[in-house]
Symmetry: C3
């Protein structure tokens, strides 16, 4: 491990039966011994609670404790996450094991943090068991107080679905057509709240005995509300295994998780040294060099740790074929040499990383698991929130605009441009914050598919976009599906086919300016802006399609970035990324080629190559295949607050 540059080991997440082989008989000495041994060699430990893998004594003879999926299929023992985390007995045993761990492992030297569970709701979504049914009834009761309120909120007169009491409201199990939108979305929210409550409960137990920071290793595709989950956690971490050509996915993760918990560096808690694999599928092996670029980009983007899963290939089980640092026969894998490169790179960059911190972006993109739940209920044209957001993100990234992805409730201080695509429901809190942002000088670009649904996943009855319309100074004349109907429009001299459900607008305010118009006779607007206070509200009605659509959206984004006075925008070739950092009196760019083709970035003025301390001239700078550079400029301290820096240098882990 030392040779590979491993400074931290994560353990325990799947070991409940090792810890508690018989119910009530808990042995943790094996783990305590391992932690001490690692510590004696200078290697730290993150310890995990083992709740994703309940032992056989939890499942055996107790089908009522098992997860039930939306088809009514009850899980059997085997695999993981097979128990319902809401079952009282599961919960009780989870508290007991967490408490035992916190007591015995918590005080051990070498322990630097905790992880709760592992990838909650990674391979399943909402549970439909009887425990959940009863909690659902309680949740509805608490939320609506009286059944009439629920009936009114959900419009259950449609299709005579009206309920007489809360017990009657079904879980969204199988019926002849999809359930009422309000019910489906509410059940998702209910379920996600239960997950957050489980995390909170476990975290409270750990905190009784330990002051070390706590995380949970998540991923955007899991069926959780990450914003809620991280409210009771101390630092963000995630697991991701994209293939190398999907490096933009990894950048999106960096830009998101850096901001999940402000001013705390995040961890890449799991990624593969070369390929993820299991009995049924595997990912493409990374080309040599990619892993190091991925790690450098992570550290540059605000990561404190970059951890490989797993240390040694498992000799058995479902993930027998997964890439690892050591092979099943105990020797370095094809990924090992890549990890050694990271060690070298991390050592080279460490002084710089400790001495600086990621610069807060000037452009913020709102990222919302609640929005994702709405799209799961209302996918219309197989719309997938993750794919929509990735598409949008990639256009921002390739436009060279530095960006932070922020949860709905994040603070907007210091930002100049706020992007809110694909946010069906605009909460009053979000609206207030965004309006303040505009009034104090920001540009807020809302849409497409933003603001058209209420909190209860119903349609507005006053205006297509509810309150947003009057604020944006537009009136929606028509809203209808545009996909495949070959409806075109023009904005900033670019014509494109317009997709998704779109809006035909007319200005409702004298100051509203139309920036994009439909090409058909009406000439109505699909892109408008209106000054408000010191700033502007921009409304975008649809998603432009295809290559020309991407070009149109890029133009729109660059135009408003310029109008917003965004300085963190770079002229960089696609496939190469710039991670801006700052320290006292210095601006730093860490530039990484991620696509393996090499790239170029234009330096706005002469600076210093911080790795070799040599001057670099203004103008184009070449970056090698999967290479990186760190360029610095003397500069007055930026106004922007820090996004957090690692306390202890880089932390490669397993």
């Amino acid at each position: 491990m030392k040779e590979a540059g491993i400074r931290c080991v994560r353990m325990g997440e799947f070991a409940w039966s090792k810890m508690e082989p018989e119910i009530g008989t808990i042995h943790l000495d094996f783990f305590a011994g391992a932690i001490s041994q690692l510590h004696s060699h200078g290697i730290d430990t993150i310890f995990c609670t083992p709740t994703p893998t309940p032992p056989i004594w939890m499942s055996d003879g107790h089908p009522e404790r098992m997860h039930v999926n939306e088809k009514g299929e009850r899980m059997s023992h085997g695999a993981r996450q097979h128990c319902c985390i809401n079952h009282p007995f599961f919960r009780k045993r989870a508290r007991i094991i967490a408490e035992a761990i916190a007591r015995q492992i918590g005080p051990l030297p070498g322990l630097i943090g905790w992880q709760i569970d592992n990838e909650l709701k990674s391979s399943l979504s909402e549970c439909m068991c009887a425990t959940c049914k009863s909690l659902w009834t309680q949740w509805l009761q608490a939320r609506y107080l009286h059944i009439d309120a629920l009936n009114e909120a959900w419009g259950t007169e449609i299709w005579s679905q009206k309920y007489q009491n809360f017990q009657q409201v079904p879980q969204p199990v199988q019926t002849t057509l999809p359930h009422n939108a309000s019910l489906s979305t509410a059940y998702r929210q209910f379920n996600r709240e239960q997950v957050a409550a489980f995390i909170r409960e476990q975290a409270e137990i750990l905190r009784r005995h330990s002051t070390l920071p706590i995380t949970h290793n998540t991923n955007r595709i899991f069926h959780v509300d990450n914003e809620q989950n991280f409210q009771s956690l101390d630092f963000a971490s995630f697991d991701a295994y994209p293939e190398s050509e999907h490096f933009r996915q990894m950048m999106l993760d960096y830009d998101l998780w850096r901001n999940a918990i402000p001013r705390r560096p995040f961890w890449v808690m799991e990624t593969s040294p070369y390929s993820a694999g299991n009995l049924r599928a595997h990912t493409k092996t990374h080309p040599s060099g990619y892993l190091c670029a991925e790690a450098v980009a992570a550290y540059a983007s605000g990561a404190e740790g970059f951890s490989f899963w797993l240390w040694r290939q498992q000799r058995t089980g479902f993930e027998i074929a997964h890439g690892a640092v050591l092979s099943s026969w105990g020797e370095p894998t094809v990924g090992y040499r890549e990890i050694q490169r990271i060690k070298e790179a991390a050592e080279e960059l460490e002084p710089l990383l400790i001495d600086s911190e990621p610069a807060q972006a000037e452009a913020a993109i709102t990222y919302s698991d609640r929005a994702r739940a709405f799209f799961m209920t209302e996918s219309m044209e197989q719309l997938d929130y993750l794919a929509l957001m990735s598409h949008w993100y990639n256009i921002v990234l390739d436009s060279g605009i530095h960006r932070d992805l922020l949860f709905e409730n994040a603070d907007l201080t210091g930002y100049r441009l706020l992007l809110s695509p694909f946010l069906p429901y605009l909460s009053p809190a979000y609206m207030e914050k965004a309006k303040d942002f505009v009034r104090s000088g920001g540009i807020w670009l809302a849409g497409p598919l933003t603001g058209w649904r209420t909190k209860e996943h119903t349609a507005h009855t006053d205006a297509f976009l509810g309150d947003l319309e009057s604020f944006a100074g537009v009136k929606t004349l028509f809203a209808y599906p545009m996909s495949r109907a070959d409806i075109r429009g023009e904005a900033f001299q670019i014509q494109a086919t317009l997709g998704l459900t779109g809006c035909e607008w007319i200005p409702s305010h004298p100051e509203t300016v139309v920036q994009g118009r439909y090409s058909h006779a009406s000439g109505h607007a699909f892109l408008t802006e209106k000054p408000e206070g010191k700033g502007r509200i921009v409304l975008l009605g649809h998603m432009p399609q295809g290559a020309e659509g991407d070009r149109m959206l890029g133009s729109i984004l660059r135009y408003y970035a310029a109008e917003a006075g965004i300085r963190m925008r770079w002229d960089v070739s696609a496939g190469t990324i710039v991670a801006p950092r700052h320290s006292k009196g210095k601006r730093i760019w860490i530039i990484v080629n991620m696509d393996g083709k090499g790239g170029t970035v234009t330096l706005p003025k002469a600076g210093t190559d911080l790795l070799c301390q040599e001057p670099v001239p203004q103008g184009p700078l070449k970056i090698d295949r999967y290479g990186y550079k760190a360029i610095g400029w003397e500069s007055p301290p930026l106004r922007n607050p820090s996004a957090g820096k690692p306390s202890a240098g880089w932390m490669n882990g397993v």
Copy 2:
């Protein structure tokens, strides 16, 4: 509504819980009030029984009342049609609510008709619940009297499936391979008969208190036998939402439902002003102009009403995104202006429509839900009856041959050409009627895939096509799958690849003439004709494939149309349709461009443009994009009886 030209409102179909919020407490005043209010503004009402959406008091705590699908999955409350319509308790409550409605709503001024239920069996097929199991046993008992008769009829010695008593005969639930063909088809027929019985029962209740005409809004894709259903109904209506490029689907519907109940105009009971949509999918928005063309073609083809679903977008539920006349926020949608065009067109055409009636076609195509049930059981190469019939219909349409689609038991008086494709079972009654038709001078073209199965969905054991062979003067030597085997043939100088299961025939009668031969050495026939009485029986053995196959089939159809002396055949460009009508002493063509490209029709002689009362010369007449014209000629009254004309002019509805 008046501004939009809405003359009729349909209501009540999904409102059971509004009508009967608690079991036995029925309130209809809300609806009575609405009907009166509409009536006071000159708007009529069609009232629906609310049985597709049983209230929660029907489902709650009563899983035994719910629909069970063929995988054994029991539906939950939510969506619609979740109860089994055969459950005695459901049936009892359905009778009670229908009776209450008939009593209170029936006498109201403004009421012009009834609709029973809504889209029966639209989102589910056969029910497998215990109630249905017991009815199935009774049905079998009544049909076969003794189990030996069933065993013999179904050939249950195959695979040792032999039953000892009727109770043992399973519903076609999950087993290792598909069930016996006879059982599967019988269960479909049983189920469809139950649906028809439910309609009949409800209709009888309404008739006790009302003399107004009764309909049910159906669609070809539902799991019902429309011919049976309409036997106890007074007028035909259907719901359809094809995208504009599938306008031929709509024409097929017009040509079918016009004839479902002879001499009674039909209704397009639901179509979208621009797009159908729900949480999971939506159709492409119509191009501007299409909706009006669709409506004019409907009225010209024999519709009395053309109704939009829905008036105002629902603010909640599964169909929240569906196109409507008014938006969820209460203003005209993009479809509204299209509806206004219809109003103008309908006003322009109204005198003409009231004064004339659709001309009966000379070519009849038999359309059979029983045949469809056979294809569901025996799909062979993913054959779908609807797709096969559409393909066939489109070739007839594009050949310019005017046509009526007739149910199996329809009267053939007045027709000259009878087309019977894809009719696996020829009932004795159908055979008798078709033979009479031939003997009195008609040309009957049977096939492909016609006559090869018995009533019990078994194979004939005397000849491949049973009785049909001797009547057609052929002997089937071989019948085998031709698809993908690149077997070719020639007819009327056109060569094409022959598809589906085909037949190699030789004449068995001296007068049999071979009109199409296989290209391989045998030279056997796939297309034959034989004189019989004053007419001819033509047998077609397969479906020709691809563009050249369509050309071959078009030639065959045009040839026999000419031979049959069909006069209603037009030289019209594809995408434009002619709807022939007649009044006292006048022949009328209403010509509509449906594909948005404009078109041409050749006038056989000079006539009069009935809309501007100007003469039009013989020869080509241009029709604008989505435009229409009405041309009239003085003419002796046609021998053909009327296909019905609207009593009250056009009826746009919601």
Copy 3:
């Protein structure tokens, strides 16, 4: 039948309810009468036990006797194989009916053999019923004795799956992710052993009353272990219905089943005269001539019988549309004339066939249903053992190398080249045999994906390939997925992209020679050879991809065939096959064109056309479309033992 050349009739397999209409009332006279009648016309009978189709009295009211699939769905009566063959009551009734048949039918003149059941596990895989659960527990107990041994063997510490007793070990029913690999593979083995035990039990009953040979008609795709099944049977037979362009599948079958039971000719027990079909699908009709080529190739390859399914089309049931000798109306089908051609060909070839026997090949390919079970558990990239083996086989076939496919435990005496692709687990017995084979002069080519898993479906922990590595004189440095990663290599001057999980090797022994290297910088080996004793062990690390990959593999195979001194290699055009036979003092080639394009084979020296007894010169010999020739050379007796010859000439059957 006589006219069609039918010499044997198979009956009884689906007739349990005919034989035993009421439980305990067994009547076999109908069948005895049929056998006698056939015999009186010189037609023999193979009689089948009727267990695939349990009568209604077995299923009615007894859901616990029914098969349950891996989704927990319980089969209903209908179709076939719906009962669990492990249920004690089924087993008891199966013994009783088999005994009754053996007693009454066994002694009848005309009976020549038995078939047990029909296509066991053809339309279903492992059963998950309660009977199987209890047998599974017993099986585990017997195999592991103590639960600790199971936990250790399966590595159940992974994901905390550890069991406390055997009762807790689940069947691999639905859970959140696939089950542990060891459990899944063990359950498959358990299930296959039960099938073999059922066959053994039934065979023992028949043998108590009859000495006639017993078979079971299998197919490679069924969920069984054919090697185990045939251990208690007397001759091999299989059912297959490939379309004509998949004739290589049929050749693979001939080369496999010829060797399933050494020195006993095999039967093609079912194939279609022209097309297989059922209610849901059908195969393409054979081109005229193909069937005869298929039959001649079968007889030439060692078949004793070539049987058509079925004699007369069923008039009812699931397979109503299946091709047959006679149509449902009792007349010759399009296949009949093809069958007559076979009769002629068989009569022409009969003296030759009786006088000679298939020559044992010099190249052996190991074919293993156990390997297939491993790939079912661990499919990684949708790998399918049958497809992988077919691909490999086709390259061997098209390289003109004559081959035998052998089960794992087959005797290797007389072979020169042993090919072991896709054999994840190398048993000690197999390893020993292969090592002996090498030491005594053979060349053993192992891989790809061979030897990388243990008996328990886990990874080796000493070396990637376990013991195989030291024997092969290589060390695996790296093993990782190569697919889609565009990793290339070169061997024998051919470059190709390398696919599947591959290995980077370095020699670990001074005599190891690298024959194929990766193109990337490491230059590690993917193809090595090492002398050992008088022979060589060759290791292939991956599957080369695409057309160039096939070329590379063809070169590798031809190189080692030459090195192994293989004489049975022919220069024959693709699509034409050579079946070598020998008799006293004569070598014979039967050459058949299988692709309908005609072909050429190069005769190594002048020989005799055995059908017309004329000399044929050395050099190219043309074969007509679907034609065949038999060429003979005087030759000393070959060392190779006989692969069996038919006792009674050709046996076309139904």
